[in-house]
Amino acid sequence: MAELTKPGTIERDRLIAWALGTFHAGVLLVTLVLLLHVTGGLPSLLGGLNTASGLALFAVLWVTTVWSTRRTLLGALGPALRNEMPIYQLVGRAVWRGGINGAAFLVGAGLVLAIPIVLSGSSSAIYSLLAGALFFATFGLVGAFVVGCTVGLLFGGIDALLLMAARALLNSH
């Protein structure tokens, strides 16, 4: 356990969380864009979202995913990337953290999308926003948590395979 608190290990874990968190957020978005593109649904989505909102939404996803990945990996890897906990426990943690990430992203996305509405000063738009916020705070958060858990399970499995590949390369010399 003392090895985990070494400065080198802390720095290593920060880099791994940064890389895996960015990998998760980036691959998720590119996969969604690819699926929408091949099914022909991309133009209508792009037509309904302005560039600034799109950039801000991805920034929120990126920040919450890196944070959630860092929490998932806390103390999970020992020297030379060895597992410090059983793989099922690590994947279980990825599922839970994925759910929290989904809910955190929904809250962040809601704030990003609410800013222009509030700035518009239209009372009817603000009333609709409050009604929407009530829906998001109940059903939306539950839905986002479930979707986040599913995505967390998927990426937990992919990460476990990528860690195995890295260990195999490390041990090959």
Binding site: G8, L15, V27, V30
Partner: protein
Amino acid sequence: MDPLHLLVRWAHVAGMAAILGGALLLWWLAARRPPLDDRLTTRVAERYEWIFWAAIGLQVMTGVGNLGAFGNALPPPESAWGTKLTIKLVAVLALALFSVPRTLIVAAGSEADTTPHLSLPLLYGSTTVIVIGILGLAVWLAHG
């Protein structure tokens, strides 16, 4: 063109330059004989991995931003341009997938503060080749 779209395009090109330039530098450092310094390559590689993933996030963000400029006028997937876009998106996914083990190996090396791992020339050489392929696809897309 409005300033935001110009900034998005500039960031996309700058991010690609950082990814490709760094990969080329690391390939040269890792493959160099005799090596410069036992730990120098590991240190530079560690810094590069931080920049690489920042640039990947930026590429994804600005890449979708660039597509957003098309809006409803985005060519369909069955068109020649649409097929090129499909290939480019798959290549980006492949680069991201391939890069995780590379980062993990560099991170493990920096933790131990050891000499560079023997697979680094192969990993950075492969990264360079994939990135040049994606760059080619991007130029092909930009010219219709």
